[in-house]
């Protein structure tokens, strides 16, 4: 964790239940300013639910979550003004052009009129869509759409960015470019919480949270997680020194985590 700076996201014993199903089960963590934190886990692990709670889209059943120092259950509107969000499903307007979409979100987020032209230019530039401002979004390929969605999410210079599987269905070179953008933003002090199910993408994160069945089963830098997985094996097989891949570590840590009562294996 970046030393000294106050945490931008503080989550304490967060629980979300849908009827009898517990989607998020006692999760706690913190994210510092300018940190890129990754959520890794299988589909249905609770990553999206967790992100939606932090965006104020779902009310927590128990526990506490502070985003930019604001309690998401108490003042979700306050949270919404300070965050940018990219949902799992592409959610810009396909029947509107690139610039029309950006102008719309600029208006909704209340970007100051003096800044709007510069912010729009920045977003178009970042998405690599210079010269295609008037193209309908429906005609754009996946990678451009994702970068445009990111551009729309940062028009109002949010301090915190939530990205829910932003790169799913995008080709590898576009994914790489997308991650470069995320790091650029983080260097400017934006805290980024990003979920993915691509293991290789976890390597781009400063810290990674492994989530399985609503529980946070491991949290640390990619290196720490690998070492911990290795540590479990070291007891039985000393002498093996090569670090496992993050994917192997994940499998190892998931199988090592205690099975929860009441949940079918």
């Amino acid at each position: 964790m970046a030393g000294g700076t106050p945490a931008q996201i503080v989550v304490e014993d967060l629980v979300k239940r849908f009827g009898t199903f517990t989607a998020v089960d006692g999760v706690s963590f913190e994210v510092a300013r300018g940190e890129v934190m990754g959520f890794i886990g299988p589909n249905g692990a609770g990553k999206s639910t967790l992100i939606r709670i932090l965006c104020g889209l779902l009310r927590p059943s128990a526990g506490r979550a502070l985003v930019a120092g604001i309690d998401v259950a108490q003042d979700p509107e306050g949270v919404r003004r300070r965050i940018g969000y990219m949902s799992q499903k592409f959610s810009l307007y396909n029947d509107m052009s690139v610039i029309e979409n950006l102008q719309f979100f600029g208006g909704i987020y209340g970007v100051p009129r003096a800044d709007i032209a510069a912010r729009l230019r920045f977003a178009v530039d970042m998405a690599g869509l210079v010269g295609r401002e008037d193209a309908l979004v429906a005609t754009l390929a996946g990678g451009w759409k994702q970068r445009l969605a990111l551009g729309a999410a940062i028009l109002h210079r949010p301090a915190i960015l939530f990205l829910d599987e932003p790169t799913s269905g995008v080709d590898p070179s576009s994914r790489r470019r997308f991650w470069e953008l995320i790091h650029t933003l983080a260097q400017d002090g934006v805290s980024v919480l990003v979920s993915t199910h691509y293991m290789d993408e976890a390597e781009y994160c400063q810290r990674v949270a492994l989530i399985n069945r609503g529980r946070l089963i491991a949290l640390g830098t990619p290196l720490e997680l690998k070492q911990r997985a290795l540590g479990g094996e070291l007891g039985t097989a000393p002498g093996q020194r090569q670090l496992p891949s993050l994917e192997d570590s994940f499998v190892q840590l998931v199988s090592a985590s205690p099975a929860r009562a009441g949940v079918a294996a």
């Binding site: 939606r52 965006c55 104020g56 889209l57 779902l58 009310r59 979700p76 509107e77 919404r80 003004r81 965050i83 969000y85 990219m86 949902s87 499903k89 592409f90 959610s91 810009l92 307007y93 396909n94 029947d95 509107m96 029309e100 102008q103 719309f104 979100f105 600029g106 208006g107 909704i108 987020y109 209340g110």
Partner: protein, 378 residues
Amino acid sequence: MRWRRVKAIVVKESLQIVRDPRSLMIALLIPVLQMFLLGYGISLDVKQIPLCTYDREDSQTSQDLLRQFSASRYFSLQVQATSYADVARSLDHGRCSVAIIIPSGFSKSMADTGQGVVQALLDATDTNTASLAAGYATAVVTSYSAQVQLESIQRRGGSVPTLTPVEVRARVWFNEDLVSRNFIIPGVVALVMAIVGAQLSSLTIAREWERGTMELLVSTPIEPMELMLGKLLPYFFIGMIDACICLALAVFWFEVPFRGTLSALFFTTGLFLTVVLCIGYYVSVSIRSQVGASQVALLLTMLPTTLLSGFTFPIDQMPAAVQAVTYIVSGRYYVTILKALFLKGAPWGELLLPILCLALYAAVMVLLAARAFRKTLD
């Protein structure tokens, strides 16, 4: 509330409407279609009732009487029966709904006693038409009787009291020609506005849920009232164009006299449009599918406006319990206002009560619709 956000939604919604010209055409053509369909389809006038005659006497007198029937614009002679079986058959087959039978000995009875009796058979499967037909038949016979009486007095060379002691001289107000279309068309305008208005807005929120764009929208600082205003303003504009089309058709095509003030007409139309747009919006928020929302919106607006607004069925003829229900039908106030404006030419002052009711209704619906939208995915 920030107007900047309202404006952003208005611009976005307008762009999407313009980019979907097919839906826009439907929004503008459907009212025209409905106006013609309902304007011509619904008529309460009884004219040209198919008539069957059976003259068992075939005398000068009986022919005179029957000629009065065929000359009337309320009857049209279809069958000249030659037996009772004939009469029964033409009523059974529905070729005629009224049969007039003149018994043999009719003219003799008239000559001897000054009294004659004719029989009328009525097909009362449609009771409304039957009772009107009976009334018209009586009227024809009564005027014939008066004529006969007059002639007989004159023939005896007596002084002629041409006036009956007491006489009703009816003068019809507001709808001088007694054309039911004049009374129906303003109601049709209300019905079409109710259907179209709710249909327009019933899709707006459901569409965003279906396309997945709502998740992002609720994560922004947009307020429910801003979203609603931004969404409904463009549709209000389209709805007012529809209203102009309907009202123009009513006046220039159906030739319903318009005697009121235009300002009152447009003000109340705007209020009514607000109400139905909000109903559609409320439904759209509650039912997150476009098909479901449009069905429910249709049900919520078309049925009450047709049955309970006083458009076809007079409210004061309804049972007390049903009358009470009509107060929660917004169409009731608008239909009242429209009829008063079109036919009576009522000034603003006389319409104050229904206008106030409609305004109150609109205010409540705006608040309900705005509050219905929750910025959460729970």
